[in-house]
Symmetry: C2
Subunit: 216 residues, 2 copies
């Protein structure tokens, strides 16, 4: 990868990265229907985003549309999937095999999007040595050793909220580069560590509030 490519990746804004999977899902639908070309106007109309925004978002991806006909669907799907990282496998560990952690281990759908969950860790002795959906669960004290073996880059945090910061630090010391935080705790990390927060509870709070407003 040369310097210009690096600059290109750095430049992609988070809102763009969050919209591109919407475009991909829609374009894959069209592909399933046997369509061969799609315009940014079509995508814009479907996703309810400005057409110029769609064109701008797609300009980060290495693909160019043709005047009048738009983007070739097969190529767009392929290029988007690759650009979004869904075609490479990223090894991940799950920390905390409670209710949510165990349910993520069950969800093989994530695998199709490039997330390869290779092991789970917990502090409960009775979980160590078990497996869920074919994925082994180890005691947290064995994490450093297993990390040498697996070389995971992503840590999924599903521990109880009061353990979130402590486990975060342990994970980072063990060499994990990116954290997917499902706890409602705002974890603190060094600058070179990537954090993505998915707070299901925050989404619930927004939904409940809007629902109550609608009903009155």
């Amino acid at each position: 990868m040369d310097k210009d490519d690096i600059k290109e990746i750095w430049k992609v804004p988070e809102p763009t990265l969050r919209r591109l999977p919407w475009y991909l899902a829609f374009v894959k639908l069209l592909k399933g229907k046997g369509e061969t070309f799609v315009s940014s106007t079509q995508i814009a109309k479907e996703i309810n985003v400005d057409a110029s925004q769609v064109a701008k978002d797609l300009s980060f991806v290495n693909i160019s549309g043709k005047t009048r006909v738009g983007y070739e669907i097969d190529t767009l799907v392929e290029v988007l999937e690759q650009f979004l990282g869904f075609t490479s496998q990223h090894k991940a560990f799950i920390f905390g095999v409670g209710s949510l952690g165990a349910s993520l281990l069950q969800d093989s759908g994530l695998n199709q999007y490039g997330l390869d969950i290779v092991a789970g860790f917990d502090i409960k002795d009775e979980l160590a040595g078990s497996s869920i959906n074919g994925i082994p669960v180890f005691h947290l004290k064995d994490f450093r050793e297993k990390q040498k073996e697996y070389g995971a880059t992503i840590g999924i945090i599903t521990v109880p909220v009061e353990k979130a910061q402590e486990v975060t630090e342990e994970i980072i010391e063990g060499g994990i580069k990116a954290l997917w935080n499902f706890t409602p705790f705002r974890i603190r990390v060094p600058e070179h560590i990537v954090v993505q927060n998915t707070s299901m509870y925050a989404h619930l709070a927004v939904m409940f509030n809007r629902l109550n407003s609608m009903n009155h």
Copy 2:
């Protein structure tokens, strides 16, 4: 509920609703440590948000701090949980008992945040009549009838992306008021329907992109 209260609820911006659960998680931690008061400055420092923002966010909640000592922790936890809707039970149906749907049925943690998943629906005949984590799974064709019985207000959408819009329309016609959409498809709904999108794949895309940028 009188008109002023309604106005109050409507006024709460989404970013505030997304930040309040972070504050709640932190304040509950302090409570667990035996603390009795917390200031907005303390919360601000921990969550990495401006202190004036914290005070503004908390102004939507019916609680007032005391000069110098701040907010009483017990009251703040109670008031926040109630305000965010975590203390009432909201009946929900899951549509699509595939990998993700089944894993959400397994996750009893959501129940503690006011989401009461009472049934799942799928088009697969072999799933109808089964149950996961004690929650019954029915055939989608029985949805209208079961809705009369249960009166769910929330529909969780975990169907394959190509079915998302079709199922959305069926759910709304059946009287569901709010949709929690886990598919990467941008569903279209009438104005009076609440939609909350939780796209795990979009979060993955952001994480993969940042991770690649860090490594080069």
